[in-house]
C-alpha cells in the first residue's frame, strides 16, 4: 500500500458515533468510510481500530476480503464491467479488451490522469441486457466494443468540458 496524504478523519466521525459501540458493524463502518473517501485509507482504518477497539488486523482482514473495498483511490469514473454468465456468453471479454484498448488499463487499474478505473465485478443482474457495465451508477447495456468505447469517449469529453468551466 502506497503512502497517502493524511485523511480528514472528521469525515467519518458521524459514522463512528453511530456505530462504534454496535457489535458487528465493521462492514457498515467500512462502507461509509469508503463512501467518504472513495477508498479505505490506512490511517482511517487505524482510526476506526482506535475508536471501536477492533484490532487493526481484523479490520484490514475484512477490508481485503470483500470485493467492494478498495485500499487505493479510484478514478473519477469507476467502470464496473459485469462478469456474469450471460455477459460472458454474450462477449464481455471483447468489451473488456475494448476498454483496455481505449484506456490502456486492465482490471483493477486506474488511468494515469485519474479519470477512469476499471473493475471487473460480479453479476450486476441485468443479464437480459448483457453485456453490461455500470459507471457511477448508470448502467450501459447491450454493449459492443464500439459502443463501449463511445461511452468512454463521451465521459472523457464531459470531464474535459467540466474541467474547463470549473
Amino acid at each position: 500500500m502506497s503512502k497517502q496524504n493524511p485523511s480528514d478523519l472528521s469525515l467519518i466521525e458521524p459514522t463512528l458515533d453511530t456505530y462504534a459501540d454496535v457489535p458487528g458493524s465493521l462492514i457498515a463502518i467500512l462502507q461509509e468510510t469508503q463512501e467518504a473517501y472513495g477508498y479505505l485509507p490506512m490511517d482511517a482504518m487505524e482510526y476506526i481500530a482506535q475508536r471501536t477497539g477492533t484490532p487493526i488486523a481484523t479490520i484490514v482482514g475484512v477490508a481485503t476480503f470483500y470485493a467492494q473495498f478498495r485500499l487505493e483511490p479510484v478514478g473519477k469514473h469507476l467502470i464496473m464491467l459485469c462478469q456474469g454468465t450471460a455477459c460472458h456468453v454474450n462477449g464481455s471479454e471483447l468489451i473488456s479488451a475494448a476498454i483496455s484498448d481505449e484506456l490502456g488499463i486492465h482490471d483493477g487499474e486506474t488511468t494515469p490522469d485519474g479519470l477512469f478505473s476499471l473493475e471487473h465485478v460480479a453479476c450486476l443482474g441485468c443479464c437480459s441486457l448483457s453485456p453490461v457495465m455500470m459507471i457511477n451508477g448508470t448502467t450501459y447495456s447491450s454493449l459492443t466494443p464500439d459502443k463501449a468505447k463511445k461511452v468512454l469517449r463521451s465521459l472523457a469529453a464531459e470531464s474535459a468540458e467540466g474541467g474547463a468551466s470549473a
Binding site: 462492514i27 482482514g61 475484512v62 470483500y66 454468465t85 456468453v89 454474450n90 441485468c126 437480459s128
Partner: protein, 589 residues
Amino acid sequence: MRLIVGEGSCGLAAGAGAVHTRLQELLAEANPTGVELGITGCNGMCFLEPIVDLYDDEGALHRLVKVQAKDADKIYQAATTGDLSLVDGLRISAEDAEFLDKQTRIALRDCGIIDPESIEDYLAHGGYQAITKILTTGMSQEDVIHEIDVAGLRGRGGAGFPTAFKWRAARDAKPDETGQKYLICNADEGDPGAFMDRAVIEGDPHSLIEGMLIGAYSIGASEGIVYVRAEYPLAIIRLRKAIEDATARGYLGDNILGSDFSCTLRIKAGAGAFVCGEETALIESLEGKRGMPRLKPPFPAQAGYWLKPSNINNVETYANVAWIIVNGGAAYAAMGTENSKGTKVFALSGKIRRGGLVEVPMGTTLREVIFDIGGGIRDNKEFKAVQLGGPSGGCVPASKLDTIIDYAELSATGAIMGSGGMVVMDESTCMVGMARFFLDFTAKESCGKCVHCRLGTKRMLEILSRVVDGKGEEGDIEKLEELCYAIKDGALCGLGQTAPNPVLTTIRYFRDEFEAHIAEHRCPAGECRELITYYIDQDKCVGCTACARQCPVQAISGERKSPHKIDPTLCIKCGNCKTACRFGAVQVR
C-alpha cells in the same frame, strides 16, 4: 389514463429513467387531468425494456415496449387525446405477449404490476392479508408451519431444503436467557445469471417483508435481517422505504396488528463476496467479519447469528409464503411434481430470443421454458446447452431438454435447480470455455479457508486455462475429474463442494470438445482465441473498409471496394472486425 413505467434495474439500464423524466416534464408543463404517471418494478420482460404500461380509462392494459425517450411525446399525446393509434408502433407483439401468458406467477405475482414504493398499492393487491389472517385468527406457530409443510415449499436459493423443516428446527431450538432468535433473509443473490431476488425486492418489497414476518412469527424471532448484495442499490432503496412504510402502518414494530407479536426488520448491505450466499458465511458477514464459512454442526437453527437460533431463507422462498397462507398450502402443492411443489422463477438469459424472468410450475420441461416462453435461440443458431444453477450447477445438453423442472430430475442431469439462473448457449459457445469461466469465478470467490477449495479450484482453473489455450496435455481430463471428486469430498462448504459441477457436467456431455482442444488444438465452437483464426470470405467482402478501420493493429489490408485480407501474424483476435462487418464476411476457423 395511467402511464406506468417499468423501473426495475433492467428497465432503468435500458433507458426507462429518461422516458419517465420526459413524461414527467410533459405532464408538468400541461398538467392535464385524468393522466397519471406511475412506476412499477420489473415484469420480467427484460428483452422488451423499457416498457410503459398504458391503462386506459376502462382499465384495459396497452403494453408499449422498447420505448425510448423520443417516444414519450407520442405516448403523452395518446394518453391525453385518447387516440391510442398514435402508439400502435410501440405495442407488444402477440408473439412476445406469450412470454407472460405462459407463466404462472406466485413469487412474482405483483412484480411489474404494483408500484413498489407504495404500500397502499401492495395493500390494494391483497398485501398483508396473510399476516393479518395469522394474527387475527389465532393461527399458532405450528399452524403456520403446517401450512408451509402442506405446501411442500422448499428453499429456492439452491439446495432445496424443506422450509417447514428449517422453521420447525429454529422454532424448537432453545434460545439462551435473552430469548433472542433471528430470522434472516439471504438476498445476496450471487449466482451470475440469476436476478429474480433483485426483481422481487425492487418490484414487490412488501411481499418479502410479509413473508419474513410470517417466518419470524413461526420461529419466534423478534428481529429480521435482510442481507442484500451491495451491487443492488435500487433494491436497498426500495426495501428501506418499504420497511419504513410497513413500520409506520404497524406491520412492523411492537405488537403488530394489536397482537403480542413484535418484530423489526433491518437491512445489511453485503460487500461483495459470493461465498456469503452460504448461510454460515453470511452469518459471519452479518457479524462484521470475513465471510468465511463455519463448520456445521452446529447449524444456524441451533447457533446462528451471534450464536442465537437463526433461520435463513432466500428472497424467493419468503416471497411465496404470504400466498401460501392466503390460498392454503394445498393450493400451492397442487402445482408441481411429487417432490417439487409450486412454482420456480428462472432468470432466462444468454443466446435466447426472449430473455427475462420466467415463473413456471414445477414439472414444466426445460424445452417449454426455453423454446415456448423464451422463443428459442436468437440469430437462427442451434441450441447447444443451458446452464442451470450458476457456479454450483451444470450445463444440460440438447438431449436433456425434456427434463422436467424438479429438484431430483435436475440433479440427475448433474446440474441443480439452484437459484434459477438459466443461461442458454448456442453452437458458438465453447463448453470448455464455459467450464473455465465458472472455475475462474469460484477460484476468485473462494474464501481461501479450506485447502480443497482454495488450491483445488485454482489448479482446476489452471488446467482449464491451458486447455482453452491449446496447451492441454494428455491426461488433463482425467486429472480434472480426479480433482473434481476430491474437492467435492473435501471442501468445507457448499461453494467448494459444488464448484466442480460445471466442470463435471461439461466433461460428461461435451467430452469431445475437451478432446478436440487437447488432442487437435481445435475449438469446435470457434471461440477460444488461441485456437482460432480470423479470415475474410473473399466472396462476401465488398471492400467497405469498415473492418480495417476498426482493427487496432492494422492487420487488415485491401483496396477500397475490393476484398480485404487479414494478416494472421499481426491479428490479435480482438474480434472488432467481425463486429464491424455488416456483410458477414469476417469469419473464424
